[in-house]
């Protein structure tokens, strides 16, 4: 197990390093000297000097690269946001909890709908066809369009939810009223994001459960005289769920990418919205930081998914030894 953890940790660190490196060279791929990219009327001489120091623009490229990597790794210094005139790390720190809230709520919706309909489709032949149609419909929806249609239906035709935005915090943070306000704003984007993911979760779980239910140990469980409910819920589902843990590593990038579009449509001020608006204002330090951070989050998520999978399924731990 320890060897497995170490191997995966090394792979994640490698991925992380690659993401950072790609991000860095992105700036240098741009036309002209990087400092031209940061040429901006709003930028004061002091900020400019800080940027020059941060990117060590007077040095050769390999040296610049090492210095930049060093500033991030050692000091966590990502520079200053042009549009907000604050440290990039502070700007991002504001956004991370909001994206985390949106993505985790969506994940709950995704897995709950996936479990419910996946099991139903695998167990009830009458429901199978209808559920297959529903999951296909969900898989084929463009996130941005489904969001707009949800806004049209639930904020205009039948106005029960706000069309977007994030509560300003009036009424005091932590109070019941403000919590309710956050939930009201959260409902539509989280539902849309979760249901979009549910399309593939349903398919995946249905297939996984059908495969498990045809195995010998299920026949053995039935032969022992266990109730059908126990066979399905305990013996079948437990084994069908294991790959779902691994799926999480792939769900995370989809969630992050999806949340970028959903946040842009619903003006939900998280990481995706930050990136989207930063492109509009050409706020390069922010764009570079969010790009790198999205890679970091995914690398960490993958690592956690792998570890959880290995904990749940002993066969995975030996994976590296053959094949």
């Amino acid at each position: 197990m320890l060897a497995f953890v170490l191997r995966r940790l090394a792979a994640s660190l490698l991925l992380l390093y690659l993401v950072l490196t790609v991000t860095f060279f992105l700036i240098h791929l741009g036309p002209g000297d990087p400092i031209h990219l940061f040429e901006d009327q709003r930028m004061t001489a002091e900020q400019r000097a800080r940027l020059e120091r941060l990117y060590h623009l007077d040095r050769p490229l390999p040296e610049q690269y090492l210095a930049w990597l060093g500033a991030i790794v050692l000091h966590g210094d990502w520079g200053i946001s042009f549009s907000q005139q604050r440290a990039v790390t502070a700007v991002i720190a504001d956004c991370v909890p909001r994206t985390a809230l949106l993505a985790s709520t969506a994940l709950v919706v995704d897995y709950a709908a996936g479990l419910l309909f996946g099991i139903l489709a695998a167990r009830r032949r009458g429901a199978d066809h209808a559920i297959r149609v529903v999951s296909l419909l969900l898989l084929a929806q463009p996130a941005f369009w489904l969001s707009l249609m949800a806004i049209l239906l639930f904020s205009y035709v039948w106005p029960i939810f706000p069309a977007g935005g994030y509560p300003s915090g009036a009424g005091g943070a932590g109070s019941m009223a403000s919590l309710f306000d956050v939930l009201r704003h959260l409902a539509l984007p989280a539902l849309v994001l979760g249901l979009l993911g549910a399309g593939s979760t349903i398919r995946f779980l249905r297939g996984s459960l059908l495969e498990v239910m045809s195995r010998d140990f299920i026949r053995a469980a039935r032969a022992k005289g266990l109730s059908e409910a126990r066979v399905v819920w305990v013996h079948g589902l437990r084994n069908a769920l294991t790959p779902l843990i691994q799926l999480f590593g792939l769900v995370l990038p989809a969630l992050l990418s999806g949340s970028l579009i959903i946040e842009a449509v619903f003006s939900w001020p998280g990481l995706g919205w930050l990136t989207f608006t930063a492109v509009g204002t050409r706020d390069y330090p922010v764009i570079l930081a969010t790009t790198a951070l999205s890679g970091v989050l995914v690398a960490v998520g993958n690592l956690l998914a792998d570890l959880a999978h290995a904990a749940a399924d002993p066969r995975v731990r030996d994976e590296g030894r053959h094949g």
């Binding site: 992105l26 036309p31 463009p142 707009l148 806004i151 049209l152 059908l210 799926l247 989207f276």
Partner: protein, 345 residues
């Protein structure tokens, strides 16, 4: 039970093919089918934000320009036109297409007009052309990359295999939209870079699938026979391995076209893909996204989104149906984790 279900769904192939053709052919024939130029903005002040089915009278003026009106009536000495609750009388000499009771020309906006008075139906046709074009060229690129990487991984030895598969894992795990946005912030996007980006980020599923197929086929008897006969390894790969491994790959490719069209439309919606004034389904939805447009002119966002959704559904149905019909092993088994999660956007 499994067999029966597989057969039932494969019967959807003809229907989904018909649906797909019905969606793909009109855009391909856009220049012949579109009633108006997709960028045409004739008398935008009158034509803008009209609901589906609007018919406006088109008045051809002596200076060569056109004016549109909800109602035209002959009055002594000229023509009275009514547009947006304003009336105006034009002298008869100024109107070129005058008839006994009005004007000879009309504009029919089958799906309505957008905020610039452009015909949505014409834009939908031309936009579909761009979406299908970008989708299929990107997928061709992804298919080539996927076949190259998958073959190299399966046949290039263990070291190359593990390096390439880790690369595939890394690509699969990356939220590309962030990287793409960073890229488009630095370079002005165009159709070429867009195709490169979509193709360059869509090949992983194909390479994984092909690798698995090739590894399975490598030890099969007809390949051993070909080897025993002394055929060149490349000939074995090209004539025996690849053709036998391609069926599931081509099915996967059908599904990838749908995902790529989704990805293209998402990028275009956000403003990082196909750039206006060129129409694509994604940037057409974006034109109807502001609350004022969405709530008062819902048709602008509705129809292009519906077109994207129906196209992806049709491609998925064709892909799933073909899989059920041609690839019996996969029947009643869901797509593998990687394919299930393919949509990167």
């Amino acid at each position: 039970m499994a067999e029966e279900r597989g057969r039932r769904f494969s019967s959807t192939v003809p229907w989904s093919l018909v649906l797909l053709l019905a969606l793909a052919l009109p855009p391909l024939a856009a220049p012949w089918l579109a009633p108006y130029d997709p960028a045409e903005q004739t008398d935008a002040a009158v034509a803008k934000n009209r609901p589906p089915g609007t018919v406006l009278a088109a008045v051809h003026l002596a200076d060569g320009s056109w004016r549109l009106a909800e109602r035209v009536e002959r009055v002594p000495g000229g023509l009275r036109i009514t547009a947006r609750e304003r009336q105006e009388v034009l002298p008869a000499a100024d109107v070129l297409n005058l008839t006994a009771n009005g004007v000879a020309d009309h504009r029919r906006f089958f799906l309505g007009t957008d905020h610039l008075g452009r015909d949505l139906w014409s834009r939908l046709l031309y936009g579909g052309r761009i979406s299908f074009l970008v989708g299929s060229v990107s997928v061709l690129l992804a298919l080539s990359l996927g076949v190259a990487v998958g073959s190299a991984a399966a046949l290039g030895g263990r070291f190359l295999d593990s390096v390439l598969m880790r690369l595939v894992d890394a690509f699969l795990a990356f939220p590309f939209i962030f990287l793409i946005i960073a890229l488009t912030a630095l370079f002005r996007p165009g159709l070429g870079p867009l195709v490169l980006i979509l193709g360059g980020t869509g090949w992983m599923g194909i390479s994984r699938l092909l690798r698995a197929e090739l590894l399975g086929l490598r030890q099969s008897e007809f390949v051993l026979a070909a080897r025993a006969l002394g055929q060149h390894p490349f000939a074995i790969f090209w004539r025996h391995l690849l053709p036998n491994a391609m069926t599931p790959v081509l099915i996967q490719t059908t599904l990838l076209v749908g995902n790529t069209i989704l990805a293209e439309s998402s990028l275009s919606f956000l403003g990082f893909g196909v750039q206006p004034p060129m129409a694509s389904w994604g940037n057409m939805v974006a034109e109807g996204r502001s609350p004022s447009a969405l709530f008062s002119a819902w048709w602008i966002a509705l129809f292009p989104g519906l077109a994207i959704s129906l196209t992806v559904i049709a491609l998925n149905l064709v892909g799933d149906g073909l899989r059920d019909a041609l690839d019996p092993r996969s029947r009643d088994r869901s797509r593998s984790t990687a394919d299930a999660m393919l949509p990167p956007l």
